[in-house]
C-alpha cells in the first residue's frame, strides 16, 4: 500500500518518527539508535557553552547533518520571552528556521503553558519561523495554535518522559479530525505498541526521546519504534474493523459435523 509522505511546511519526510538526542548513555549509542530509527528530523536543545571546560566534544560531531535535519527545541523555557529568545539563538546556531516550541507551565508535570505557547507561536511565525509547538491533548489549544500559524501541532500522549502511553486517545482523534496541519504525538510513548497505537489513531507522526534513549538497548528500541510507527500507520490506512461486544465466527456456520 502506498502512503503519501509526511509533509510539514512544504517539506516532505519519508519517516513519520521524530527522535531526540537527550539521555543517551553515550554518543555512539545515540548515533546507532538514530540510524536504526530511520528518523529524518532530530530534536536538539539550546544551552550555554561551558566556558571553563571546553573539553567536551560538540553534539554536532555526532549528527550527520547531511542525513538528518535538526529541530532545535526551547525545552526548559517557562515564559514566552525565554522561548522566543531561545528559538532565535537556535536559528542562528543551526541555520534553520524550524523550532520545536515548548513553553512549560508546571515543573512537576512539564505540562505546557498554553496561553504563553500561543503567544510565542504567533510572534515566531511573524518572525519567519516554522513553529512546531508541543501542547496538551486539548483540541481547543490545538485549534488556537493552528490559527496562530503553527506548521504542525504536537499534543502530548502522556507527560514527558513518563512512558505511560496515549492517555486520551479520544482527544487525539478529535484533534486529528479538526486539524488542518499535521498532528504529531509528542511525548509519553513508552514502548512500541504505544507508538503503533498513536499512529492507528490517524496522527501524522510521533516524536519521542526517552522511550528510546533510556531503553536497555536503545538501537534495538529505535528499530522497534521505526517498525511500530510504520505498522500503526499501515493499520490506520488499511481501516480497522469496528469493535463489537460479542463474538462473530470466522468459519462458516453451515456444514458443522454432528449438528
Amino acid at each position: 500500500m502506498t502512503d503519501t509522505p509526511l509533509a510539514i511546511a512544504g517539506r516532505e519526510f519519508r519517516s513519520r518518527l521524530l527522535v531526540g538526542t537527550g539521555k543517551y548513555p553515550s554518543n555512539d549509542v545515540m548515533v546507532r539508535a538514530h540510524e536504526a530509527s530511520g528518523a529524518e528530523l532530530i530534536t536538539v536543545a539550546v544551552r550555554r557553552v561551558n566556558i571553563s571546560d571546553r573539553s567536551k566534544d560538540s553534539l554536532l560531531d555526532h549528527i550527520d547533518t547531511s542525513k538528518y535535519s535538526l529541530l532545535p527545541n526551547t525545552a526548559g523555557c517557562y515564559t514566552a520571552e525565554d522561548a522566543i529568545r531561545t528559538a532565535r539563538l537556535g536559528r542562528e546556531a543551526g541555520l534553520s528556521n524550524w523550532v520545536k516550541l515548548e513553553v512549560i507551565g508546571d515543573e512537576r508535570t512539564l505540562f505546557p503553558d498554553n496561553e504563553a505557547l500561543i503567544a510565542a507561536t504567533r510572534e515566531l511565525v511573524r518572525d519567519g519561523f516554522v513553529v512546531l509547538p508541543y501542547t496538551n491533548d486539548d483540541p481547543v489549544a490545538c485549534r488556537k495554535l493552528e490559527e496562530a500559524g503553527a506548521a504542525a501541532v504536537m499534543p502530548l500522549g502522556a507527560p514527558i518522559g513518563s512512558g505511560l502511553g496515549i492517555q486520551n486517545p479520544n482527544n487525539i482523534e478529535i484533534i486529528r479530525e479538526a486539524a488542518g496541519v499535521p498532528v504529531i504525538v509528542d511525548a509519553g510513548v513508552g514502548t512500541a505498541s504505544d507508538a503503533a497505537f498513536a499512529m492507528e489513531l490517524g496522527v501524522d507522526g510521533v516524536l519521542m526521546n526517552t522511550a528510546i534513549a533510556e531503553a536497555s538497548d536503545p538501537p534495538a528500541m529505535a528499530e522497534a519504534m521505526c517498525l511500530a510507527v510504520q505498522s500503526g500507520r499501515l493499520a490506520y490506512l488499511a481501516g480497522r474493523i469496528p469493535k463489537k461486544r460479542y463474538a462473530s465466527a470466522s468459519s462458516p456456520l453451515e456444514g458443522v459435523v454432528g449438528r
Binding site: 557553552v49 566556558i51 518522559g161
Partner: protein
C-alpha cells in the same frame, strides 16, 4: 575590562569583536550562536560587533535534548 559572559563576570584585556572573542575562548564560530546585549547576532555580524566593558554576551550551542 569586565563583561558578563553566560551570566558570569568575565575579564578581557581590551575591547574586541565577537569573532576575536570566540577565538580567544577557543570556540568554533560555526557551532554556536551569540547574543550581544539581548540581540541575537547573525553570523556576518560577528566581525563587526564590538564587545565593550559591561556588555552582556551569551554563547550557546546544541546539546542533547528531546522533549524536555
Amino acid at each position: 575590562m569586565t563583561i558578563t559572559l553566560n551570566g558570569e563576570p568575565f575579564e578581557l584585556d581590551a575591547p574586541m569583536n565577537v569573532t576575536q572573542l570566540l577565538e580567544h575562548l577557543d570556540i568554533d564560530p560555526r557551532r554556536v550562536a551569540v547574543e550581544h546585549n539581548l540581540i541575537v547576532l547573525k553570523r556576518p555580524a560577528f566581525d563587526s560587533t564590538e564587545v565593550n566593558a559591561g556588555d552582556q554576551i551569551e554563547i550557546v550551542n546544541f546539546v542533547g535534548g528531546g522533549t524536555r
